[in-house]
Amino acid sequence: MTGIGAGLLLQLGLGALAVVTALLAAPSLRSRAGGILCTLIAVTGFITGLAAMLGATGGLLIPVALPMDPLLLAPDRLGGLFMLIVSGVGILVSIYSMSSTSGPDASRTAWVAMPVFLVGMQLVPAATDSVSFLLAWEIMTLGSTVLLLADHASRASVASAGIWYSAMSQLSFFFILAGFAVLAAASGGTSFSNLQAIEPGSAAANVAFVLLLLGFGGKAELVPLHVWVPRVLPEAPSHVSAAMSGAMVKIGVYGGLLVCVRLLPDGPAWWGIAIMLVGGASALYGILQASVSSDLKVLLAYSTTENMGLVFLGLGASMLLRGYDATAAADAALVAALLLAVSHAAFKSTLFLGAGAIIHATGERNLDRLGGLGARMPVTAVAFGIASLGAAAIPITSGFVAEWMLLQSLIHGGRQGGAVVSIAASVAMPIAVAVIALTAGLALLTFVKAYGIAFLARPRSVEAADAREVPSLMRISLALGALSVLALGLLPGPIAALVATTVSSDPTAAVQTVGLGGVSLPGIGAVLDPIMLVVLSALVAIPVIVAIIVSARRHPHRTVDLPWGGGGSRARPRMQYTATSYAEPLVRVFDDVLKPSRDVQVTHVAESRYLVEHVRVEQTVSDVIETRLYRPVLNLFQRYGKAARHVANGSIHRYLTYSFVALLIVLIVVSL
């Protein structure tokens, strides 16, 4: 058995052990034991994935009773990369969740489901045939569904989230199944090596492409299949949200890459444009919803849609450009998409864990009731801050590098050697740049809001005022996450070069390392060295800091209750801007898209209609796609279901008539 095979087998064994341990261990030990085992699973996956990414081969054969192509788990380089992403998040999440000792997070169910979820996620990128892919995929879905429901007894909304999640997951699953089935039918086998033999322009390839895109898009939270996201990610326990958003969603991305890079690599131009459209729409819609959300976890959930939209935008751009032989830009776009996925895994899982820490400390996830946590929870604040910078794509974090590379590839994609590549590309690229720019701008606002409202200013509720820093294991996990965000941002060169090996036949032509971990795109002629940027900032900061030190020695600061307070001393914390008010201008600007419902109730004083006793303003921003697209369909189904009851109205005569009519029809058909 090869090392990869042993690694996969070890993961399965550890997974089984973790399940058994969770079933048998005493409640006090369960989280510790489960957490350690899950960490071990993730570490094993990390090593296995790294080995696979560096080119090690080997695999694990799953026996199956049905006559199918062999179910082989043998990750290639790309699969290895995604195993790495998933297990990296897995490590963070496992460490984080170890410290919960009571409640639903520490329940037996949760700890049985966690290893199942982790193992399932890691086996998906290892699969080399559609059936084992689907097998691992469904194990992942099952594990995550159970984890999501862990909290079901405390909030009614969990059950509804569970239904949405299962139904949408199944939708994705069926799309993928159908897509693979179409490909398998056209190529005569279920293994990926068979599937990729299909002719790119054929009808089957087109149908399969659409089906698979829909399936993976659903898992990757792309519009309009994202509706589960704002329900599920907030309702799941935070470490599960972190794993879902940080890792599971990447499996959707992996699926997209599998289709676009490996199975159907040379598709027609409209494939790339379609992916760009879906990605761009998701990015904009996701960030718009995130920016106006006041629920921290809903905000993070929608932001996931945004990031995945950008990943697919990059993927689509890369397909489109490759179709026009703009190889350098195409490679850069693809590597950028991958880097974005990697970096999203780092910052989004940290953000969700940070949200978990906030909930742990305050029991609140409504930003309007938070505030002032920076002083009370310093480690969380710093980690969340760094991750927010990553999400807002600010240097020197990982998010910035990825977005920079994506933009570089786009602005160089419209032309090659001075000539316009194609009309399609020269229209698509500026739109894509504009979309990314607006997305980036709104992301900036979103995360300034999230961080500023939660951690800065004065506490807006008693819970926030009484918050204490979270236990050490949670802090360690948060710190690790934040460090990874910084590390990925500071050393993009080696990472990008490594990532490029997974998708490019000639990785050094696409990406090279320059300076101290800087990245250069030789085909495009763009260079970025974050470490040099840090050095430069430090150099220009020195005089400023010296000036501050000198000034501070001469003129120490005074602390007062409120320095100015808007001109009065009665400025209470309630009068601060909240998250809702922070986003209000944006809601107005995008009124037509967001369709907020406003309700103003004015209560007049009994004596006079001209005097107002109090005014109540309510504004809700619901998911337009859900209310306009899904609700009508669901209502239709409900009405249909009610009407359909008449089919089984209890009358035996009616039932006999069914049989009789069937008999008559068969007789008529037979005699035709």
Partner: protein, 487 residues
Amino acid sequence: MSFVLWIPLVGPLVFAALSLLLRGSSLRRFVGVAASSAVLVSGLFLISAVLNGDIPEGGGGILRADALSAYMLSVVGAVGLISTWGGLSSAASSRTKNAAGYEALIALFLAAMSLAVLADSIGLMWAAVEATTIATAFLVGHHRTRRSLEAAWKYVILGSVGVAIALLGIVLIYAASVGTDTPTLSWILLSQSTRGLDPALITAGGALAVLGFATKSGLAPMHSWLPDAHSQAPAPVSGLMSGVLLSVALYAILRIQSITNLVIGPEFLRTMLSIAGLLSLLVAASLLIRQRDYKRMLAYSSIEHMGLMAIGVAIGPAALPSVLLYILGHGLIKATLFVLSGRILKIEGTPVIADVRALLVRRPGLAIPWLIAMAAIVGFPPFSIFFSEVGIIMAGWSVGLGGVVGAALVLLLVIFAAFTRLTVQMTIGAPATTVPPSPQAFTPDYSTHGPILPIILALATTATIAFVAEPVGTLLLQATAVLGGTN
């Protein structure tokens, strides 16, 4: 080896007689279990014989156990064992005067199903299928309430009429064989390709026979008896009916199909079964959306699964191993679910979904196995239904039934969503009481209210069987080969 063929027929009959003799003895409870075990053990024996290349025959060629028959016999035994064992608690509680008859009828039911799968003659097979109706008529009406009487009446009328249509079809097939040298009903003889049977007669006969057996296998539009009968029968009986009776009827369809395929090719029955399968899925989807009764929910789920199996049968050899595995997986899981539903019904006193809330919090002992079995029945891995569904869907596209399978997927999605919603309504969430008066007033009930071992066995078997390439894979291939498939 041929004496083994008689064990599943005679054994249950002996136990049935014993049950009538052992009035008042506590041992009587175990008659069903013993009869199922006899069937299962002989089925496993026959499987091992078949795998060794032997094809036991008996009774002057009336009984025959090839790979398919042996497999089906084992499924009957296994599902019977799960149902009867799991239903021990409910059987024991009903210490009424007709309890003896109950056990005897269960044993008879098992014997009839064993005969149906072992008979070499289609005629005998038909008689055995009809005998299952007779054996289960009183089982469905066991509770002697108005509702169970209604269910039993509908079941017998619709079932007998349907099976009568099947008889008409078999008669036509026989008429076709009369046109050749040796009139016969032995399907092994009928399915010899060189006989030169009349295609028109075989078309008509095959169509009518399939239509008739479709009634027993719960395919729309002949399914109407099923939700009523399944919801009113005692839980173990529902388990047996849903788990294997439907599949035994499907087995009959498979046998008929293997004859018609040789004479008129697969197209005709493929169309017919595809339509029936899709209709079944449509009916299940439509009526699950606003379902109110959890036993009926399970019944419609059976219609759904039979529909998908019918589509698998329509697809042909490429999907048959999946269909056969499906029969086992669905049988075991559905039996488990019915057994559990019986326990829930007994303890909660209501079959209405809306009245059973927060089961996971209140009665984890029942809710956890229920949820696991639900996950299995909707097709989550590692349970074997997952592989069966994937196998059928994949095979469907490869034989050009992409449209049918695609439509099936759409309906399956609706069914999945409805099923999930209903299950969540039953199990998930907090109990309705807003403020529990005191911690003592609310203690979770961890009891399983009956034997848990059969449920664990059923779930474990379904979870692992798909990964047992040897000998299950070989057996499934051999069984497919029996039906004329080379795949």
